[in-house]
């Protein structure tokens, strides 16, 4: 499986330092803390204010999972309504989504359903999604209870976490869980269809294509 995917997920010749590459996307309303969340994970830093993201941005982080180096290319998106068309174009390439709302902002929570629909519309069926309620450190300002978050996640069939980028709560857990789900799904589909392995081995194309999962894991 690994060898089959090696060539598939290589970004370019110079950057072969990983076994898999997963492309993840963080989406959600504007100023729910997507950029902070990503900086906390990738750089372990926190600033109370990042410049509002224009278009899309990304960070890279390599993690180990079962002796395999997994390179995560995490795309951070602008949450403003106006950027929907631009960002949704990138959905199709993503293998995993972190759908984020702000526990101190009702509106961002109410928009979750919408975002979910967007994922369904613009991504491949098998993209994995984790629902994340951010800013859980601000208990005083909380307007969305954990239970409501959980309930919604169940209803949408998503995994759920409450996090705080500021206090570094659950940030790593979210990414680890998402990687796990993707890996599971990937090996599942490889098991069910052994021909995939051989056919994938043929692919020598460098990744960075908009459909990595289309080409590869089918998870």
């Amino acid at each position: 499986m690994a060898s089959a995917n090696d060539s598939k997920w290589q970004k370019d010749a110079a950057d072969q330092n990983f076994d898999y590459m997963f492309k993840l996307l963080i989406i959600g309303n504007s100023s729910v803390g997507k950029t902070s969340f990503l900086f906390r994970y990738a750089d372990d830093s926190f600033t109370s204010a990042f410049v509002s993201t224009v278009g899309i941005d990304f960070k890279v982080k390599t993690v180990f999972r079962q002796d395999k180096r997994v390179k995560l290319q995490i795309w951070d998106t602008a949450g403003q309504e106006r950027y929907r068309t631009i960002t949704t174009a990138y959905y199709r390439g993503a293998m995993g989504f972190i759908l984020m709302y702000d526990v101190t902002n009702e509106e961002s929570f109410n928009a979750v359903q919408d975002w979910c629909t967007q994922i369904k519309t613009y991504s491949w069926d098998n993209a994995q999604v984790v629902l994340v309620g951010n800013k859980c450190d601000l208990e005083d300002e909380r307007v969305v209870s954990t239970e409501r978050g959980k309930q919604l996640a169940d209803q949408l069939g998503l995994e759920f976490f409450e996090t705080s980028a500021k206090e570094n709560i659950n940030v790593k857990a979210v990414f680890e869980r998402l990687v796990d789900i993707i890996c599971d799904k990937m090996s599942e589909s490889l098991d069910s269809d052994p021909t995939l392995v051989s056919s994938q081995a043929k692919g020598t194309r460098l990744t960075e294509n908009p459909n990595p999962q289309a080409s590869g894991c089918q998870c």
């Binding site: 990042f50 410049v51 509002s52 068309t85 990138y90 199709r92 613009y122």
Partner: protein, 1101 residues
């Protein structure tokens, strides 16, 4: 061998002096030891059906006798532990001689076991002797043969010695004569007995042994026993009847009728089904499993063995191998084009002369025209429009082009139905046909979402199917190349003349569809964008790019609305929304023309059909007239449209514009008069329309009005004349420009103006390859802060454009205003209570206040420029050229691969149309095909090899479907006597399709059995009509004697008869032990075989 000096040498010498024969025997023994066949492990008889369905294992060793090479093959049925236990139980219960003996050797049980007579699939020795474990000695070389009795005897005795020495209880056979004769002699050495396996094989059946009675004589004579009373011989019989003539249902796959010109049947459909009957013949096995010799009589004059009386029936269907299946054939042939490496130019040069008669020179001219369109080339579509009206027009193609004249016209009509102007009855019919085709003709089958193709019945679907069919039927790859060339030319024509491409999903490229589809969507976006642009700038450029005569016009506003980003309102139908308002607003002069025009725009197909049905018989008119007529009809539909008012209004509007274009002033009163200037008139109408709706938009505060309509909203607000508005002003005055609508009820912070949503530019649509490129560029910048900064800057164009638009629409605004509209969460409002009471105060969020951040920076550089005067975010010209270049740079193999997704999609739909849910195998195959299809089409690397695999799966489905159809037509319910048995028959058909040999439930009495009898009966009747008297007489001599009275026997002569005779008899002497004896006999047309296994006591002889 020369001995040197050592003492050891003598021992070796002793060994080597052994003869070849001895060495051979010891080798056999050695192998038996190796295989661990020496211990007499006893297995019970196999469970029922195990021979056919169980797993057989095989081991081979090479050995030689002198220089003659043999292989020793051990074949045995792999027994599952569970099975063994079960059968062991059975053995202890059943076997009578079990008491006499401690263990029954496997071979005894096998010989006498009744459960596994006539296995449907097994080694011949297994079938003849019922053995589950045996060894064969056979010449290693296929052409070698052991000939001559003495040689066979020699081998047999060698084997005997080896078996005895090794103490092996497994029977061993020596293959004699040529292999195809399957002649074996064998032996088995048991502790107190041995078995002799003998065989006779003849080409012709001796008449005295052609029946059970004769065979019983042989069997008894062979036993030579005089034991009294002799136990009866048990007999198992199986007759095989074959049915080849399916009288009731001859195979009738309708071949696609390529000559049918009406409705373009030739090239709009993929064919489906098998060309030949996929079901070849039916074999009926009638079995009498266990009879006593006393119970049954079969001799040369009489037979009890009537198939209709047989207790057990089973059926096997012989399928035609690789029947020619149309769909698979078409697909593979098309895909095979992938192997052509020539470029399109090379292939096209094969035409020799040019494709189009109206252009000069060879085809390279046509290619040149791709880059510099000429007037001559522009003639193309007008010609196209007159195809139907002038069918007798001489062909425009050179003689070398594979598709000429009428057929080409039809194809183009089929692909681009909108470019044809129907002019008479017959063509109207065609038009209707095509439009019905356009509607999804089958219930939308949910193909997996992942299948990257194009909408069913869209242009690309049609193109793919059409090219595939043409490739097969109309000139191979040259036809494909030719039509592709036409296709490219048409695309370019449409781009240059602002015709939208029909049959392409509207909106920005759908990344869920295939690349080709995305490219065409992109091209459509470009065309739409260009039209919009040119309409707006018409007054300024002074060169109206009048949309040429066409039965349709205008980008549908509903289509545009889909690309609107900030307008959350899913704008319903533009005309619906406007109509009532237009009526209310008398001052702005609603006119039916413009409203009708709007509705006209929203529904292309309606407009297209409208004129089609009205214009019967008037062939020479330009389509503009249709346009107006259509307006009338549409206006009527909308109702409440006062013709006078509308005309007056139009006049007024036109007069306003008159300064610009005087020609129009007189031209608008009467439709009949406008003939000449129609295109201009039409053009003029548009700004008028927009200004009106714009004013409407102005009067509807904060309502959700589309960008398109509101483009010129400023007209009504500034209350200026249409003329001054449409004139292009180059000013950055503080006069608000490019307002779309009021934004809620917000007011600007620094002045008392209300805030307006500006008209904004849409971000450029992207196809997946562009997106990929773009993402790669962004990713290359790395993850450093500088990289991120640069990335943001690269993407700031859209932000800048929006800010500029906002500034233009809201003079005096500040960043805070912009943020309130654009990113409301960055505007923080706080309620402050002071001595004056409660008031709300707002400020920018912390992140917007970061000094020097992107937003502030861009805001500072932004000038108040309305969207339409800004630098284009979307360069339609460049993008369109890119698409067109992409299309024309594809070579044949690329074209094929790019069209494959649509073709596969169409093929899958075809297969699903013919799906039969009751057949599991088929369901599996189709599911597999769908899964595979989604993988293959989604793969970024479109690989012809993977498509080949996919096509193979689809072919498999096609064959199964064809077989199913064939079987169903053969086993029709018409033949049933009782209605309620229908289900049973269906079940039978389904099982027979999925299994090799199927027992007939209820035998001849069951519903399936009765149908089979009838099939045989009718086949018999049919054959007897042509048979002469003599032959039928001969037939009746046989076992069909009982049918003497009826004119025709129900069943033909059995093709093969098999008998198994078994008994326990003391051999060789009357005082010997009772031992199992068995004789198998098979009688076929030209093969007569008796295989006997006779056991004799080796102690009491």
């Amino acid at each position: 061998m020369a001995a040197d000096d050592d003492g050891d040498v003598f021992e070796i010498t002793d060994f080597t002096t052994a003869s070849e024969w001895e060495r051979f025997i010891s080798r056999v023994e050695e192998i038996l030891h190796e295989w661990k066949l020496i211990s007499c492990l006893c297995k019970g008889p196999a469970i029922k059906g195990a021979y056919a369905n169980g797993v057989w294992e095989e081991k081979t060793e090479e050995l030689s006798f002198a220089d003659f090479k043999f292989s020793l093959i051990h074949i045995w049925l792999k027994a599952k532990d569970e099975k063994r236990e079960k059968s062991a139980e059975k053995e202890s219960g059943d076997d009578e001689e079990n008491d006499d003996r401690e263990v029954t050797p496997t071979v005894y049980g096998d010989l006498m076991d009744m459960e596994n007579d006539f296995p449907s699939r097994a080694h011949c020795l297994c079938r003849w002797y019922g053995l589950q474990d045996f060894v064969i000695l056979t010449p290693a070389n296929n052409s070698d043969a052991v000939l001559g009795e003495s040689k066979i005897k020699l081998l047999l005795s060698s084997v005997n010695i080896a078996l005895t020495d090794a103490g092996c209880c497994v029977p061993m056979f020596v293959q004699a004569h040529q292999k195809w004769r399957r002649l074996y002699q064998g032996t088995c050495v048991l502790p107190s007995a041995n078995i002799e396996f003998g065989m006779v094989q003849l080409k012709r059946t001796p008449p005295q042994y052609n029946h059970l009675a004769g065979l019983l004589d042989v069997f008894k004579a062979k036993m030579g026993s005089v034991a009294d009373p002799r136990p009866p011989v048990s007999v198992a019989v199986r007759f095989l009847y074959e049915l080849c003539d399916w009288v009731n249902s001859p195979w009738s796959q309708p071949l696609p009728d390529f000559d049918d010109e009406v409705g373009c049947k030739g090239f709009d459909q993929l064919p489906f089904g098998a060309c030949e009957d996929p079901v070849c013949s039916l074999s009926l096995y009638c079995t009498w499993p266990c009879l006593s010799e006393d119970m049954i009589v079969e001799n040369h004059v009489y037979s009890d063995l009537d198939p209709l009386q047989a207790p057990h029936w089973s059926v096997r269907i012989q399928m035609t191998e690789d029947p020619l299946c149309l769909l698979g054939e078409y697909l593979s042939t098309f895909l095979a084009l992938c192997h052509r490496k020539e470029t399109l130019e090379q292939l096209l040069s094969g035409f020799g002369t040019e494709m189009r008669e109206d252009s000069t020179g060879d085809i390279s001219n046509a290619l040149q025209r791709l880059t510099e369109p000429t007037v001559g080339y522009n003639l193309h579509v007008p010609t196209l429009t007159s195809y139907v009206s002038q069918p007798q027009k001489p062909t425009r193609k050179s003689k070398d082009a594979p598709i000429q004249g009428e057929l080409l016209d039809q194809i183009l009509q089929f692909l681009f139905p909108d470019s044809v102007k129907p002019s008479d009855n017959s063509s109207t019919e065609t038009e209707e046909n095509t439009s019905t085709v356009q509607q999804p003709s089958h219930p939308v089958k949910e193909l997996p979402k992942q299948l990257k193709s194009a909408p069913v019945n869209g242009l690309l679907h049609k193109l793919a199917v059409c090219l595939c069919v043409l490739n097969q039927n109309n000139g191979g790859f040259m036809a494909v190349v030719q039509i592709w060339q036409e296709f490219i030319l048409e695309m370019r024509y449409r781009w240059e003349h602002n015709y939208l491409i029909e049959g392409i999903e509207p909106g920005p490229p759908n990344l869920g569809s295939c690349l080709l589809q995305q490219k065409l969507q992109m091209l459509n976006c470009c065309i739409e964008h260009k039209r919009k642009r040119e309409t707006l700038h018409k007054g300024y450029t002074g060169v109206p790019e009048s949309p040429p005569s066409s039965p349709y016009r205008g980008p549908s506003t509903s289509q545009l609305s889909r690309s609107l980003s900030h307008n959350e309102a899913e704008n319903v139908d533009q005309s619906d929304a406007l109509n009532p308002i237009a009526e209310n607003d008398q001052a702005s002069g609603s006119q039916s023309e413009s409203v009708a025009e709007n509705s006209n725009q929203t529904n292309d197909s309606k407009t297209k059909k409208g004129p089609g049905s009205q214009k019967i018989g008037s062939s020479g008119e330009s389509s503009d007239e249709e346009f107006f007529e259509c307006n009338d009809s549409d206006g009527d539909q909308l109702g409440e449209k006062d013709e006078d008012t509308s005309e007056r209004n139009q006049t007024e509007e036109s007069m306003l514009e008159g300064a610009e274009d005087t020609e129009n002033q007189s031209g608008d009163e009467n439709e009949a008069e406008i003939d000449e200037n129609q295109s201009e008139t039409e053009m003029e109408c548009e700004p008028v329309n927009i200004s009106q709706t714009g004013s409407l938009a102005g009067s509807m505060t904060g309502s959700e009005i589309q960008e398109m309509v509101g483009t010129d909203a400023r007209h009504s607000i500034s209350n200026t004349s249409v003329l001054s508005d449409s004139a292009y002003k180059d000013s950055f005055s503080h006069k608000p420009e490019g307002r779309l609508a009021l934004f809620q009820d917000l007011k600007l912070i620094n002045c008392d103006e209300r805030m307006y949503i500006p008209v904004t530019q849409e971000p450029a649509p992207m196809t997946e390859d562009m997106l990929e490129e773009h993402a790669e560029v962004l990713a290359k910048l790395g993850t450093s802060a500088e990289g991120a900064e640069l990335r943001a800057r690269m993407q700031s164009a859209c932000l800048l454009s929006d800010m500029e638009s906002f500034k233009a629409a809201n003079p005096g605004c500040v960043l805070e205003d912009f943020v309130r509209w654009y990113s409301p969460r960055d505007w923080i409002e706080e309620t402050i209570q002071d001595e004056n009471g409660v008031k709300t105060e707002g400020h920018l969020s912390q992140r917007m206040q970061i000094p020097g951040n992107m937003w502030v920076e861009v805001w500072q550089t932004a000038r108040p420029v309305p969207a339409r005067k800004q630098k284009r975010l979307f360069d339609d010209t460049k993008e369109a050229e890119k698409v067109l270049h992409f299309l024309s740079s594809l070579n044949l193999s690329d074209i094929v691969v790019h069209l494959m997704p649509m073709l596969i999609h169409a093929a899958l739909l075809k297969a699903m149309d013919n799906d039969d849910p009751s057949i599991n195998v088929l369901k599996q195959v189709i599911e597999q095909a769908c899964l595979k299809a989604s993988q293959v089409t989604r793969s970024p690397q479109q690989d012809a090899k993977r498509y080949e695999e996919l096509i193979r799966i689809i072919m498999q489905a096609e064959i199964i479907i064809a077989r199913n159809l064939s079987l169903r037509s053969k086993f029709t319910t018409d033949l049933l006597e009782r209605e309620d048995a229908q289900q049973e028959l269906e079940h039978f058909v389904v099982t027979i399709l999925q299994n090799s040999e199927v027992p007939v439930r209820g035998g001849p009495m069951g519903p399936a059995g009765s149908v089979i009898s009838k099939l045989f009966q009718s086949a018999q009747r049919a054959s007897y009509m042509i048979l002469d008297e003599e032959e039928s007489d001969e037939r009746m001599d046989d076992d069909e004697e009982s049918r003497l009275n009826s004119s025709v026997p129900n069943f033909p002569r059995p093709l093969a008869r098999e008998y198994i005779l078994r008994t326990f008899v003391p051999r060789p002497a009357p005082y010997s032990k009772q031992l199992p004896q068995r004789m198998f006999c098979s009688i076929e047309e030209d093969d007569f075989r008796i295989a006997g296994a006779f056991t004799s006591d080796s102690v009491f002889q």
